[in-house]
């Protein structure tokens, strides 16, 4: 019997040892608590991401707060997550490379995200760039529109699917290489801004389209005849009116026509990741890429910005507004989370501080175009008072 007993103990011992190991493992796993989140959660634009991470890093190092977690999800994706609702399992801040849209604002309101603080961070030019191994391009907005729009006016003024294959077909002064442009997808704020500023700007140089844009929603007949003149089906007008529930203005139709990007392979959606586009350009000297100026600045040794309407994208031309394709950068804060999740307002204040966003701050050093002094003071006041955004 004693022998059997000792054997039993031996087995139990061995199993206990295993169990102990398991228990030690479990104990480190056990802290399964979804509650008590004490770090700021940030999502949003890939253009703001490099600035936000720099601020987050400084913020984490210099204060007693935890460093925020930042996911790069694109402006649209970020706002969707942001507007899902209030609560510890939703993000506190979303970065955007364009202003929040009315529809997104309404979405937020409907989901209980009623109070939003808007912080303008600075400006970013959108560069159309290519590899340094290739000659620098000099484009006009019209060239860009003709190269990238889905439908462009044909010889008779009617819209036809974009027929251009090489840059030279558009403008004899341009090289005879294939149109191959890497750019962001529609979720991206860069894309929205690019469509509005570059494509829209280019389309305005075509008289018929410019005239269309000038028509108000009360000029239905004029709009219809303009649509007919462009060779679009007249149904476009009716379809638009039905889907939106109101009579479209000439501008609405103009947007539909001018902002649509071609889908035949000349424009390549390269994902949200602007870094990737830079790397791809470096490897493919024939391609052009569309991305934020900060990436151009950071990679000035690999890629060069094309002249647009004769202006080269650089720090000064963008700050002055000479460079035609530049847009503001924002982030949005859920005011309901301020004071509930530690560090949100402090993070926002750090972002808006002089040492970050000021003329000699660390963000301009990373390629952000700073605000004017008045704008900056206004933003700092907004952050301090948690000004609610009204739309």
């Amino acid at each position: 019997m004693p022998k059997l007993f000792s054997q039993g103990v031996f087995y139990v011992k061995k199993q206990l040892l295993g169990a102990f190991a398991l228990a030690v493992g479990l104990s480190s796993v056990a802290n399964v608590q979804a509650q008590g989140r004490d770090n700021v959660s940030i999502v949003g634009s890939s253009t703001v991401y490099p600035f936000a991470t720099v601020v987050a890093e400084r913020f984490g190092r210099s204060t007693s707060f935890k460093a925020p977690k930042i996911e790069s999800t694109g402006s649209g994706g970020g706002l969707k997550l942001f507007c899902k609702g209030v609560g510890a399992n939703t993000p506190d801040i979303t970065n955007a490379s364009r202003r929040i849209k009315k529809s997104e604002y309404d979405d937020c309101q409907n989901n209980g995200v009623t109070d939003i603080l808007e912080v303008l961070v600075g400006y970013d030019g959108i560069a159309v760039a290519n590899s340094r191994q290739a000659p620098q391009m000099a484009l006009s907005l019209k060239d860009i529109y003709l190269a990238l729009a889905k439908d462009v006016p044909g010889p008779d003024g009617k819209l036809i699917p974009n027929p251009y294959k090489t840059w030279q077909e558009i403008n004899p002064g341009l090289p005879a290489i294939d149109i191959e442009v890497l750019g962001p997808p529609p979720t991206s704020g860069t894309r929205d801004a690019f469509a509005e500023l570059a494509l829209g700007g280019g389309a305005l140089q075509i008289p018929a389209l410019k005239a269309l844009r000038g028509l108000g929603s009360d000029q239905a007949e004029e709009i219809k005849s303009a649509i007919a003149a462009l060779g679009l089906p007249v149904g476009v007008y009716k379809a638009y009116a039905e889907s939106k529930g109101k009579a479209p203005s000439g501008k609405d139709i103009f947007k539909t026509v001018a902002y649509s990007v071609r889908e035949d392979g000349a424009y390549i959606e390269a994902g949200e990741n602007d870094n990737l586009i830079v790397q791809k350009l470096e490897a493919n000297p024939k391609a052009l890429g569309i991305f934020g100026y900060s990436f151009l600045d950071e990679n000035g040794d690999k890629v060069q910005g094309s002249l647009i309407d004769g202006v080269e994208p650089d720090f000064d031309t963008i700050a002055d507004g000479d460079y035609p394709v530049s847009r503001p950068l924002y982030f949005y804060v859920k005011i309901a989370h301020v004071g509930r999740i530690p560090g949100i307002q402090e993070y926002a204040a750090e972002f808006a501080s002089n040492r970050a966003m000021g003329e000699d701050g660390y963000l301009p050093e990373k390629g952000l175009i700073p605000l004017s002094d008045e704008e900056l003071a206004q933003i700092q006041a907004d952050v301090a008072s948690l000004k609610r955004l009204e739309m």
Binding site: G8, V12, L16, A19, F20, L22, A23, V24, L26, S27, A30, V32, Q33, A34, Q35, G36, R37, D38, S46, S72, T73, G74, G76, G77, K80, L81, G85, V86, G87, A88, K101, K102, S103, E104, G112, K150, P185, P186, T187, D192, K255, T256, S260, V261, E263, G265, I268, E269, G271, E272, Q279, K280, A283, N284, A336, H337, G339, R340, I341, P342
Partner: protein, 462 residues
């Protein structure tokens, strides 16, 4: 250490139950006229008691861990001021989140209100109480279970069968998880895929020749219409897989033949593990290698001989993927060639055939079905490979068979569609699930066919 303390206590109680029950069963047996009057061995009674003590208590323990935070929240919120209770649940959750963060010492007192401080105090009390109660209840249930088992000890109680049934059930549940996983995969991709096919016609998806998922994700956005034709993706995937196979199959197969038929034992013992390192390299490393080393190299090489090679050429991704698959093909072929009976080898050699003739005329034909099966498995692996193509393949869906051009694959598109935009209503994100479904089925079919072929072949020689 709380959790582990409870866990260890539970184990200790199980052990105690084991010994008590074993001891008692011996007493019962002796009283009844010797141990042989017991239906089962004393230790079976011990196991039974340990299981009775452990399983219900463990279930309680796990349930407690899962439900604890929700219950605590309810309890704490009830004591909070009325205006907090009147808050909408989301805001209340935030308020409570902060309270907990304060209670855990992650937030300064300066940031919380008086009510929260009190709530936090109450929370801490409750949390401590919950821990103690958990310990107590779990122990109580364990003791009770053990006791119940001990009391049930009768000479005619079939403890062994009882224990074995319980154990077998646990084992069965563990193995059934595989089925649940498959089910989970199918359901999670199927539901979203069905929603996708409500928006996009299934035949447009399967036979469409254009993949351009630009689609407005907001109502007021002027986006493109979006087209979801799957064919270019499939073509791209197959092109890259084909390049990979062109590298992997000859190298892998010839290596396997050399190592199993020619090489000395020692050479083989060293070479095989070294080559298998290639299979253990993480795919993200291959991706890095492909994107930063192989692709630029190929492009420069192409330039120097006047060829235009895209920077994300299918060739670069496929080449690197091929390297990854070499050991896979090698191991499978090796197994299969070794499985060919020696009698066939010896018969051929005895007839005066050279080694290479034996291999080509006897071994390979005999092993062919197995090798084909192995190659199919390798193809299925190439199709599902993600990181290499995400990092080194292109994004534009071109329908081409030129490996020097950039193509995109199913897995690349899944990643691009999902990473970054997580809303579940636009066809764009739903498309990822449809692609996932297709990917799952394609690899499943390849796998079933391959396993069938391999098994059939094995049976032939066993």
């Amino acid at each position: 250490m709380q959790t582990s303390t409870v866990f260890l206590t539970l184990l200790a109680l199980c052990a105690v139950s084991f010994f008590v029950a074993r001891h008692r069963s011996r007493l019962v047996g002796m009283a009844g006229g010797g141990l042989t009057t017991l239906n089962s061995l004393p230790k079976h009674y011990g196991y039974m008691a340990a299981l009775w003590a452990g399983l219900p208590a463990l279930a309680l323990f796990v349930a407690w861990l899962v439900l604890e935070s929700t219950v605590l929240q309810r309890l704490v919120v009830v004591t909070l001021p009325a205006e907090i209770q009147a808050m909408p649940p989301s805001e209340q959750g935030l308020y409570y989140n902060q309270l907990v963060a304060y209670a855990l010492g992650n937030v300064d007192a300066s940031q919380v209100s008086e009510a929260q401080v009190q709530g936090a105090r109450y929370y801490s009390e409750l949390a401590t109480a919950s821990k103690q109660l958990k310990m107590l209840l779990v122990s109580a249930v364990a003791v009770l279970g053990g006791l119940l088992a001990v009391l049930r000890i009768r000479p005619d109680f079939r403890a062994r069968n009882h224990v074995e049934t319980i154990f077998t059930s646990i084992l069965f549940i563990c193995s059934f998880i595989a089925v649940l996983t498959t089910l989970g995969i199918v359901l999670s991709v199927l539901f979203e895929a069905i929603r996708f096919f409500q928006v996009i016609d299934i035949s447009d998806f399967l036979f469409g020749l254009q993949w351009s998922p630009q689609m407005a994700i907001r109502a007021d956005q002027v986006g493109a219409s979006g087209s979801f034709g799957f064919v270019p993706l499939l073509a791209g995937t197959l092109l890259i897989s084909f390049v990979a196979m062109v590298i992997a199959v000859p190298v892998g197969l010839m290596s396997a033949i050399y190592l199993s038929e020619y090489a000395s034992r020692r050479f083989r013992a060293v070479t095989k593990p070294v080559l298998e390192i290639l299979a253990g390299v993480p795919t993200v490393v291959y991706g890095f290698f492909a994107a930063l080393t192989v692709a630029p190299f190929l492009r420069n090489l192409g330039e120097s001989i006047g060829l235009s090679v895209a920077s994300e050429s299918a060739l670069a991704a496929g080449l690197v993927m091929g390297i990854m698959i070499i050991p896979f093909v090698m191991s499978l072929s090796d197994d299969i060639i070794s499985a060919v009976p020696d009698t066939m080898r010896e018969a051929s050699l005895g007839m005066g055939a050279t080694m290479s003739e034996t291999i080509r005329k006897v071994l390979l034909p005999a092993a062919l079905p197995g090798i084909v099966g192995g190659i199919l498995l390798a193809v299925s692996r190439a199709i599902g490979e993600t990181m290499i193509v995400v990092m080194a393949a292109g994004l534009s869906a071109k329908l081409t068979i030129n490996p020097l051009e950039a193509v995109t694959t199913i897995t690349v598109q899944i990643v691009t569609l999902l990473v970054g935009d997580q809303e579940f209503d636009s066809p764009k994100t739903l498309a990822a699930f449809a692609l996932g479904l297709v990917l799952f089925f394609v690899t499943l079919m390849l796998n079933i066919v391959a396993l069938y072929v391999v098994r059939k072949y094995r049976e032939q020689y066993e």
